[in-house]
Every structure is written in structure tokens, then in C-alpha cells.
Point group: C2
Chain length 211, copies 2
DNA sequence: GACCTTCTCACCTACGTGTTAAGC
DNA sequence: TCGCTTAACACGTAGGTGAGAAGG
């Protein structure tokens, strides 16, 4: 089972470099109703968080891992009658920005030893926020997160080197400034620990507390 | 004014590599009463936090910065009659562990551009906690934090390379599991934001809140 | 009006503090 | 008893949630 796409390949790795998506079941739940991710001026994390496991690297070579988020198509979308529909031509996309994983560079053995998280990446719709750790996206557009692996210990010249690139179909999402689909909201509230305050727990509703 | 000690020196830097201690006044206040740092099983941060500024690096060369904490002498101490006194021979010290600054490696220009903080280092008295980001120390012993600068982008072979080593006399401290000197406690409470809850603010004492 | 964005808010998680009482 | 250590605790800082009202 390997539902990732691999675009570039060089020698020196002992076997096929493979990526596995963590929390795949959760991603699938969101994907089945149409994943939405909120963008704000100051930046908002993704939920589910983007985490992966990697295998097939050379344990003793050094690698850099990065993430980026690219547009899936050239459309703008709207949520109409309970469904997402194309609503005209999309806006121009901002220059692609790589989010370098802070542990980079590190040996293959280190990357393969633990799950790798990009959960600190923040999505923003403000061009002024094009700073470290944030990705500028257009609202109401469809996007695909990707992971890139580069065999190098030179953080400064990554763009010039060959890379392995992976993308998981179930991580595609549409950007919003407020959730459109109630099913998405329910999944977020029920699964994101930071939204626990909005979970309906029978008798302990807000109204009860006010009495 | 340069009260740091420099042990090793190579070529290639355009001028003398110098280190400056941040919050020097605060460190001096603690040092004048005898700085104490708490060690716990799970690990405790240092306060004041260890922050420095560096100058004299080659802006285009890459450097790694690390910190360690070494014993000042071979004594064990006790707090007696309001003063620290030697109380016999010290225990064996644990193997020295370097805390690599997470931004390593980075260019000299990057290091010199901002203050460099090691505030996430945690002090522990438990050998089982000898893991990343923690330093194992013996309680009731006297220690000296140090900073090391190595000109390399190779994180894995740092120990084999020449390094600049700095130490500031006013950062020497004695480890404790509970504060011994009330003056130290007062300074901690009055200066550490996380201890704000213990500050006496006139009428707003705990007893007042209970009424 | 319909749609989308922005801002403030209460409510969480996560964790850094010294205190206190208990343990050894 | 005394000295030192441990664990639970209340009270902070810091920041991630969707809701809801206001704005464009």
C-alpha cells in the first residue's frame, strides 16, 4: 500500500524511499466530507496535523525534509446547496514557499526513527505574513500539501538539488475563513483537543452552566 | 568590557570572537546573593535564562553553538547559618553532555543578528533523564555553564573539531532541590513571569481572596 | 440581500512557577 | 531530629479552538 507520488529519484538509497501518512483514518474521515482548513491573517494551524513516517533512506546519509502546499487546480470554489462547486477562475497563487523541518539536516537514521510532524505550519491569507513558518494561500481555493526529501546537509542550497516529492490524495483541502460544511465543523470539534470546549456532553451545556 | 574566557582560537575569523551575556544585571543580582538553580526528576529550566550575543564571526561561514554545564570544584555544599559552606567531597559527575542550539548549523551572520537563547535547557538530578535537552547534575554542587562555538556545518562530528569556549563568572550556581536562601527565592519570584502568582501585591494576598 | 472576512471572546491544552506536606 | 528529596497543587504564561457579532 503506497498512495504517494514520487517524482524524482537518484541513486544511493538502498531501497525505495517511502512515505506513510500518520492519522490516515482521520484524514480519510475529513476527506470523505470535504476537508476545509481555516486561513487567518495571523495564521492558523492545520487540523489534522500533517505528520508522516519515512523509510528507505540511507541511515548514514544526511537529509533535509520540507513541506509545501500547492494549488490543485486553477479554480475558485464556493459551497452551494451543501456541496463544493467551481465558482470561476482562481486568483493568482503566491510564490511557493518551503517550510523546512526544523530538525534539518539530520541523518536518515534519525528521520526514520520517529514520526515527523509539520504541525507548526500556519496557513495565512495575508501576504504581509509571508514569514518563517507561515504559508500564504488564497481562500476558497483547493490545495495539496507535499513533502520533499533532499539528500544534503546544506540547508542553504536546497532548491538546486534533486529531491523526492510525495503527496497524499486524502490531504487535499479547501481553504476557508469560516467553515462552510457543518460536518467538517463536527469532525474538528470532536477530534481537535483545543476545541474540546465546544463538544456537546449531554447535560453539561453552556446554558446549564449559566444557571 | 569582556569578562569571558576564551580557550581555543583558530584563524579565519576577521576579528576576535566575543560573547556578551544578556540580562547581565539580573545575573549579577543573583550572583551577589549566591545563585541557586532547582533540579528535579523531570527537569527544571534555569532562571535567569541563559542568553548571549555573539560578534566577530565570519558572516558567511557556518557555525554550531552549544552549551554545557561543568562542575566548578570537587566539593559538596550545604547551606548553614545563612551561608554556603563546603560539606565534604563531591559526588562523581555525570558524563558531560552538550546541548546543541537547535538553530545549528547556521551562518555567522544569522548568529550575530539576534540574541541566542538556551532557555529551553532543563536541569535534572535523575540519570534516567539523560535525554535530549536535559543536563544531569548533582544537587548541592557548584556549576558553571559554558558556551562553545565550532566553525562547521557538520553536526555529527562536532567533538573532533577546534572550538571557542566562553564562560561568565556571574552565571555560576549551586544546584538545589528546594531553595535554601530566602533572598534567592525573592529574586526568582520578583523576576520570573511564571512565578508572578507568588508576588506580594499589597492587599491582594491569598487570604484576601478566600474571603 | 448574500457572501465572505475580520475581530473579540470564552474555553480549552500545555507547561513553567514556588509552596506545602509527606517521604526517606 | 535533621537534612534533603519528591509529588501534588494553585496560579501564572502562552497560545490553539470555534462561536458570534460586526464589517465590507
Amino acid at each position: 500500500e503506497n498512495d504517494s507520488q514520487q517524482e524524482n529519484l537518484s541513486g544511493r538509497e538502498t531501497q525505495d524511499v517511502q512515505l506513510e501518512l500518520c492519522d490516515k483514518e482521520l484524514w480519510n474521515q475529513f476527506s470523505s466530507v470535504g476537508t476545509e482548513m481555516i486561513v487567518t491573517k495571523t495564521g492558523r494551524r492545520m487540523f489534522p496535523g500533517y505528520r508522516i513516517k519515512v523509510s528507505g533512506l540511507n541511515p548514514d546519509e544526511k537529509y533535509c525534509l520540507m513541506m509545501d502546499i500547492v494549488n490543485v487546480d486553477e479554480n475558485r470554489y464556493k459551497f452551494l446547496h451543501g456541496e463544493w462547486a467551481v465558482a470561476g477562475r482562481g486568483e493568482a497563487h503566491h510564490p511557493q514557499r518551503f517550510f523546512l523541518h526544523p530538525d534539518s539536516p539530520a541523518k536518515g537514521s534519525k528521520w526514520m526513527n520517529e514520526s515527523i510532524s509539520f504541525h507548526k505550519v500556519k496557513l495565512t491569507n495575508s501576504v504581509e505574513q509571508n514569514i518563517d513558518g507561515k504559508v500564504v494561500l488564497n481562500s476558497m481555493h483547493r490545495y495539496q500539501p507535499r513533502v520533499h526529501i533532499v539528500r544534503t546537509d546544506d540547508v542553504y542550497n536546497i532548491r538546486t538539488l534533486p529531491m523526492y516529492t510525495f503527496a497524499f490524495p486524502q490531504t487535499v483541502f479547501i481553504t476557508v475563513t469560516a467553515y462552510q460544511n457543518d460536518e467538517v465543523t463536527k469532525l474538528k470539534i470532536n477530534n481537535n483537543p483545543f476545541a474540546k470546549g465546544f463538544r456537546d456532553e449531554g447535560a453539561r451545556s453552556k446554558k446549564t452552566k449559566l444557571e
